[in-house]
């Protein structure tokens, strides 16, 4: 009688252990599925953000709105994210003696940066080289660099 009771308890314990292991494996598979779906979603989001987020720097040009200044515009666009743009406009002079101005702007979705320098060209002189460099970044840690160059009599 005592032995049969022990057997019954043992069987019940085995059944409980099996149940819990099944539950554990089920939970594990669920978490794996969620991880996979999460990573897939993340990959899709990344792909979407890669295709949607872009940065552009236009050519430096003599401003028509503000005479005697050279101006450049740069844009970063990334829908639904915080974006930052850092644009530098440099006037190339002899070797290290360049002049430059940097503007940094942060906004949501789309951001524009305008940088301008006062003209220094003198009549009879050769064209001056202007270089505009922008560093675009978003809140997901993605980034890009764009650069343009123009020679202007300004």
């Amino acid at each position: 009688m005592h032995q049969s009771r022990q057997k019954i308890i043992l069987l019940v314990l085995i059944a409980i252990c099996q149940g819990s292991s099944e539950a554990a494996s089920h939970a594990q598979s669920q978490s794996l599925r969620s991880t996979i779906s999460n990573s897939t979603t993340q990959a899709l989001a990344e792909a979407a953000s890669q295709s949607n987020c872009f940065g552009r720097t236009d050519l430096p040009h003599v401003s028509t709105h503000f005479p005697n200044t050279v101006n450049v515009q740069a844009v970063t666009e990334c829908p639904g994210q915080s974006v930052t743009i850092m644009t530098t406009l440099s006037r190339k002079r002899w070797w290290l003696f360049n002049e430059s101005k940097t503007v940094t702007v942060t906004s949501f979705g789309k951001v524009k940066a305008n940088v301008s320098l006062v003209c220094k060209w003198k009549s009879g002189g050769s064209e001056i080289s202007y270089v505009a460099t922008s560093f675009h970044s978003d809140s997901h840690g993605e980034f890009a660099r764009t650069r343009t160059r123009a020679r202007l009599k300004c």
Partner: protein, 162 residues
């Protein structure tokens, strides 16, 4: 407002020269100091020089007869990408090396170093090429840039043959 000798308003004209789309010897000529000035009129004759002119002017026909390509619309996204003025944001692994280098060479030292290295770009065109290569390597799009340059070259050849 400053004007050229022929009376044209220089602010209306944005000239671009794409020596890398032309023959190899012309590309090389544009990289040699002093004599690189000879490459510019040759580029115009070869049809690889473009004027972006937002407003039509009377001189356009004269310029076209000389070989200039006149455009009044903005460049396409592909063209902007090739020249390095348009890029898609990414966290590419190709640019990891450059990012690490930039992290090490931070601030003024980095700027001074790169400005010193600039002396190796002896002409305007070679400096442009160095900048484009650096930009595409940084963005991890160097392979696409090379491919697009090949396509642009083939397109130009087709246009010239036609």
């Amino acid at each position: 407002m400053t004007r050229n000798r022929d009376g044209r308003d220089p602010t209306l004209f944005q000239k671009t020269y794409e020596f890398d789309l032309g023959p190899f010897w012309l590309n090389l000529l544009a990289m040699i100091p002093v004599i690189d000035k000879l490459a510019y009129p040759l580029a115009v004759r070869r049809g690889i020089a473009t004027i972006i002119c937002p407003e039509p002017t009377e001189d356009l026909e004269k310029l076209t007869s000389k070989g200039w390509i006149i455009r009044n619309e903005e460049p396409t996204q592909r063209e902007l990408f090739r020249t390095g003025s348009f890029a898609t944001l990414s966290s590419s692994q190709d640019s990891d090396l450059l990012r690490r280098r930039n992290a090490v060479l931070a601030g003024g030292f980095r700027r001074t170093l790169f400005e010193s290295l600039r002396i190796f770009g002896w002409t305007e065109w070679s400096r442009t090429l160095i900048a484009r290569r650096y930009t595409h390597k940084f963005n991890g799009t160097y392979a696409s840039y090379i491919q697009m340059r090949k396509e642009a070259r083939a397109g130009l050849k087709l246009r010239n043959d036609h």
